[in-house]
């Protein structure tokens, strides 16, 4: 049998080690295991493959996926990834490190997390951000828990029906198991009462419309509750920030900051809040410190909030973050800068408005009421939405995503070329013609 390349034990090594322990076989290492529990016989796994065979196997699987041109968003956005990012994040000092418990040999990780926190604060306008959580929807759950932990004797959270379906789904799942009770409302501000701990509103709703949040924070605060805003951090480069709207907490998914779609992950959730809520913010937080020689350095801080100290009294069980993806977002924002982020949003805005106009001229959509939008928009088709979606799928487009109300959404990022948009419009025209027959 060929040796596996990452188990270095030779027969001689094994004998020497057993001798030191005072045993004569590997089996004796398990002498404390009751015999009925041993797994006798072969494991139901394929025969071991070598590296070249593994590569071929996974390539064959990948070839069974269809390559589509993506004109859809709904929580995952096809922005371009500058080559610099994977080149740097794949450096093994970043990739193969653990959580930075030993700060003296983890200054790389700690420094980029501090930069990530600073950039999330810059985008959201908030005072404090954490080192990231699993994804946007779980960040929304943590925001709900923060509200409940911060407002005495209130457990109800009102979430806007305008939140993305993936966010609403996860909020509903967690609500079922305690911590907070959830109401979904199309008009959350009209339902405020003294049972409400927090309100979660989108900065851009699921149809792509940018939300005017004037007055929201005042109303929520007047009712004694906190306001959390779910946002797209890429769009925040040009949108009024949650802090400027008066929100207390800002959360969302960092995926639009150059992370590949990757069939849904890994991405990274982000969380930021006002200073007053700092000690209620879950997850890892990195702070500035000084070492014995007075040199600036960075450490995990405010750990008294966390599960390994507080155990069942912790407000969150999270003990990791999506560190490497936080690095991804940090490098992305460094490369883009304020100017690049504005240009990116301009490109999305122009292309999305161009496409919407051209789709409307095909005559198969109703001119639905229009709010201001950036890269994602929703139309009402005069034909069956699911049928349109499938027709476009056959032509190689992932577009016209149907929602529960029979509408379809489109999304255009800076990655979509004029040729791809022409082809999509032509496909929709063909659909209109064939359907018209």
């Amino acid at each position: 049998m060929a040796r596996i390349p990452f188990f270095p034990h030779t027969q001689e090594d094994v004998s020497r080690m057993l001798e030191r322990i005072g045993l004569s076989s590997l089996k004796e290492l398990y002498a404390d295991v009751p015999p009925e529990f041993f797994h006798e016989g072969d494991y139901d796994l394929p025969s071991a493959l070598g590296e070249s065979e593994v590569r071929a196997d996974v390539e064959a699987l990948a070839a069974r996926n269809r390559k589509l041109i993506i004109f859809a968003g709904q929580g995952a956005y096809d922005h371009y990834t500058p080559t610099v990012i994977p080149a740097l994040t794949s450096r093994s000092e970043f990739q193969t490190a653990y959580t930075p418990y030993q700060c003296e040999i983890s200054q790389g990780t700690l420094r980029y997390i501090f930069e990530f926190q600073s950039m999330i604060c810059a985008l959201t306008g908030m005072d404090v951000a954490n080192a990231s959580v699993y994804d946007g929807p779980t960040a929304a759950v943590e925001a709900a828990r923060m509200c409940v932990a911060s407002v005495r004797r209130r457990k109800r959270i009102i979430a806007s029906g305008g939140l993305l379906p993936c966010v609403r789904k996860v909020l509903e799942t967690y609500a079922r198991y305690g911590g907070y009770s959830l109401s979904i409302s199309e008009n959350p501000l009209s339902e405020l009462d003294d049972s409400v701990a927090g309100v979660i509103l989108p900065s851009i709703d699921r149809t792509g419309c940018i939300c005017d949040l004037s007055g929201a924070a005042e109303a929520v605060h007047a009712a004694g509750a906190l306001l959390a805003v779910y946002c797209d951090p890429s769009a925040l480069a040009v949108l009024t920030s949650p802090a400027e709207w008066g929100a207390d907490i800002a959360v969302g998914d960092a995926q639009p900051l150059g992370m590949p779609l990757s069939y849904g992950g890994p991405y990274a959730g982000f969380m930021a809040c006002r200073e007053a809520l700092m000690r209620k913010l879950p997850g890892r937080i990195v702070g500035q410190a000084y070492d014995r020689e007075g040199r600036r350095c960075f450490v995990l801080t405010l750990q008294a909030r966390e599960q390994h100290i507080r155990r069942e009294k912790a407000t969150s069980n999270i003990c990791s973050n999506e560190s490497l993806m936080a690095l991804w977002a940090t490098i992305y924002l460094s490369l883009m800068g304020p100017e690049g982020m504005r240009e990116l949003n301009e490109a999305c805005y122009r292309s999305a408005h161009d496409l919407r106009g051209r789709l409307l001229s095909t005559g198969i959509f109703e001119a639905s009421p229009e709010g201001e939008f950036l890269k994602e928009f929703t139309l009402v088709p005069r034909r069956d939405a699911a049928h349109l979606h499938k027709f476009l799928l056959d032509k190689g487009f992932f577009a016209a995503l149907p929602d529960e109300e029979g509408r379809v959404s489109f999304c255009v990022t800076e990655r979509r070329t004029k040729a791809e948009m022409d082809a999509l419009v032509a496909a929709v025209e063909l659909f209109a013609k064939e359907e018209g027959r």
């Binding site: 290492l29 810059a122 404090v128 305690g178 069939y263 801080t301």
Partner: protein, 470 residues
């Protein structure tokens, strides 16, 4: 390499750029900043740097880090094994798949998930898996949701408490509490194990189940698991297996055969995916056949889409290389390495429980800490910091909470005998240093990019983001 002190913000110069952005199609006038309330008035304070600035900055930051590729990383409970490079090369094959794509366009991705589920079933003895959880603690929470759902589906709503041993990982009681279950602590016996006699009086119609990690956090096999399983099942409860310590069992025995009903697996520990400085991980949850309906009720609903798919791709590739031939070597080699270190150091470090360990073990500090009248002895923290000087990562320290000077060492199966011998030699040398000159340890590390920071001050006056005037 000298200490590198800059933040990316401190390299910023107005007018610099590190990325090209295309300008889009169409001629729609862009209304940003037109005075309407929805548009931002001032650009966010992001750094303005060139591409070479960025590349050099993050390269230098990486050089201040220590990873598994830099050296031995015996961090207990974290299973810091080598991460095969081929596994990292494969996720990008799936980079352009949108998570909401129609089933028929993602056949390869679905097949990969279903094969990985079958492989994990073979290794753990569980029947069905969900890949939605993004990390171990996320898996615990998902597993407990499944437990609660199972009881509810039987119309049993009285089970609101869950047994958790005092040696459990901190995430166990935290996950239980978040899932609406009240954790009830089971004290460990003098041998460090859960005694079924201690479990018995805690059982009743209000107990949803028990959370166990086996081997436990002392690295000791809970050998009375069969009796514990009968007791808990007998009162209508379920057994949850915390997969953090699965490594030594791989290829030898399976949680499913010991009576566990639900488990999570840390792909970033047992199945060799890189830890990424604290994530992304992946914590798939497996259940026995009877719990399939409860699993289906939460599958896909605890995270945005399908969990951390890119991490699953890596674990799949690793499982292919392991295969049925090498899987049987994994657990025994990791166990062999841990016992070898333990036996080689027990004359210098306090071994609180003398027994064959599994993949990890716990020392309770130094036998001779050098402490004398007026001279404080060296602590576990001091040993850990001194190890950094010698080019090793430290063990997990001050966990488990059962001892005051816990030092939890887990070598994994990917370290060679030579590496283990070097580590042993250094640990012995540190013990000698402690005995003769504890102050040397107290001021360690001496050869790292920075020395010990003042963490108390950092927590008292937190500076948590960059601001130009500080």
């Amino acid at each position: 390499m000298s200490y590198y002190d800059r933040l990316i913000f401190e390299l910023s110069k107005s007018g610099r750029r590190g990325a090209y952005v295309p300008c889009g199609t169409g001629k729609a006038p862009v209304p940003f900043g037109n005075g309407s309330g929805i548009w931002r008035k001032q650009a966010p304070a992001l750094p303005e740097v060139s591409e070479p600035d960025v590349v050099r900055h993050y390269t230098r930051l990486s050089q201040l880090n220590f990873g598994v590729d830099s050296g031995f990383y015996p961090l207990g409970s974290c299973t810091m094994k080598y991460n095969p490079k081929i596994c990292d090369a494969l996720p990008s094959l799936f980079a352009d798949l949108h998570p909401l794509q129609d089933e028929e366009t993602v056949a390869g991705a679905r097949e990969l998930l279903s094969r990985t589920g079958r492989f994990l079933s073979a290794v753990t003895g569980m029947k069905h898996f969900t890949f939605s959880p993004c990390a171990g603690a996320h898996g615990e929470l998902t597993g407990l949701m499944i437990m609660r759902r199972f009881h509810e589906m039987r119309g049993d709503t009285a089970r609101t408490r869950i047994l958790v041993p005092d040696s459990a990982h901190g995430t166990n009681p935290a996950s239980a509490a978040l899932c609406g279950l009240e954790p009830v602590t089971v004290p460990s016996g003098p041998d460090g194990l859960v005694d079924p006699e201690a479990v018995k009086p805690l059982l009743g119609p209000d107990i949803a189940g028990i959370m166990l990690t086996n081997p436990n956090t002392l690295g000791l096999f809970e050998k009375r698991i069969g009796e514990i399983a009968s007791l808990v099942h007998g009162c209508g409860g379920l057994l949850y297996y915390d997969g953090a310590n699965l490594n030594p069992l791989v290829g030898v025995l399976r949680p499913g055969d010991m009576g566990f009903d639900i488990l999570h697996v840390n792909l970033h520990k047992t199945f060799a995916t890189p830890h990424g400085g604290g994530g992304p991980g992946s914590g798939p949850v497996g259940v026995c056949a009877a719990l399939k309906p409860a699993l289906d009720a939460v599958d896909g609903k605890v995270s945005a889409f399908h969990g951390n798919f890119g991490v699953v791709v890596r674990a799949y590739a690793y499982l292919l290389m392991l295969g049925r031939e090498h899987v049987k070597e994994l657990g025994p080699f990791s166990t062999l390495s841990a016992n070898y270190i333990k036996e080689s150091l027990r004359d210098k470090y306090k071994l609180p429980i003398d027994s064959v360990c599994k993949h990890e073990f716990v020392f309770d500090g130094l036998l001779d800490d050098g402490g004398r009248e007026g001279v404080p002895g060296a602590t576990t923290l001091d040993v850990a910091k001194r190890l950094l000087d010698y080019g090793f990562h430290a063990p997990t320290i001050y966990f488990p909470l059962l001892f005051h000077q816990s030092m939890m060492i887990e070598p994994t199966e990917t370290e060679s005998l030579e590496t283990l011998d070097e580590f042993i030699a250094v640990m012995r040398r540190i013990a000698e240093e402690a005995a003769s000159d504890p102050a040397l340890l107290k001021s360690a590390p001496h050869h790292t990019p920075v020395s010990r920071p003042d963490e108390t001050e950092a927590a008292r006056h937190p500076v948590l983001k960059y601001s130009p005037d500080k």
